[in-house]
Amino acid sequence: MEPVFFYIFAGLTLLCGGLVIANPFTRNPVTSAMFLFLTILSMSGLFVLLHAFFLAAVQVLVYAGAVMVLFVFVIMLLDLKEEERRRMKLAAVVLGAVATGVIALAMIGAMRHSRVGLGLESNVAEGSTIALGKNLFANFALPFELVSLLLLVAMIGAVLLSKKDLR
């Protein structure tokens, strides 16, 4: 049963991801944002199939909730009508295709040399929240502290970049 669901969710992810960047029906950026939302939702379905329930919930809460809000904010800051009128440039399409091809080659090369799915069950031991917490504080304490520094830097950067006369 699980492979069926995997193909459903993977197909949905790819389909919605494609509709984000190239929607044949509309060029409205808000529609793209909504399809990105669906992409993220189906990716959280993939996480559920991996028994990573915490990650699935975080995917929905943070990405589909908070990050999507920021995306929609940025879209609202833009001039939407001008975006819809903009035509695709041939050079940009070619460059994008080349870049995508290079990244795909690198991914395929990396995946060919990795042993996918081997030894995963033994050390992950259910993606439960408790196991994740124990693992985080036992083995990844330094990256965890660095995350807080990163968040601090993000906050300072956001405050400084937003054009407000600071005291």
């Binding site: 502290e145 601090l152 405050v159």
Partner: protein
């Protein structure tokens, strides 16, 4: 046959769908049964009274909103780290608590700094 945790997730997802769709369906049924269909220029207007809306409803947001979005996102991510800490709290060492304390203090420092800079004051 055991479904494991997937059964709960399916039930929750179905409940979420029903919760969202049931009011819509009920409203549609109600409108279909009880309201006569007499569309007209007045009934299709945006407002039933008052002045006609002049341009499109599209307005650009001020970029100050974005700052609030970013700060919300930062504390959202902080919460993500608080939950595994709280769930695994019984099995954690003193060092882990210290690490979490530093984590929270760093972010609280950021919040205090933003507050002192007057970012949180709405103009």
């Amino acid at each position: 046959m055991s479904f494991g945790p997937f059964l709960f997730l399916t039930v929750f997802a179905a409940a979420a769908l029903v919760f969202g769709l049931a009011p819509l369906g009920l409203a549609w049924l109600w409108a279909r049964c009880f309201s006569p269909r007499k569309p007209g220029p007045v009934k299709n207007a945006i407002y039933e009274c008052g002045l006609e809306a002049q341009p499109t409803g599209w307005v650009q947001f001020g970029s100050e909103y974005y700052l609030y979005g970013i700060i919300f996102l930062i504390f959202d991510v902080e919460t993500i780290f608080l939950l595994p800490f709280a769930a695994a709290f019984k099995g954690l060492s003193f060092g882990a608590c210290l690490a979490m304390l530093i984590f929270i203090l760093l972010l609280a420092e950021g919040l205090a700094w933003a507050w002192a800079k007057g970012v949180l004051v709405w103009k």
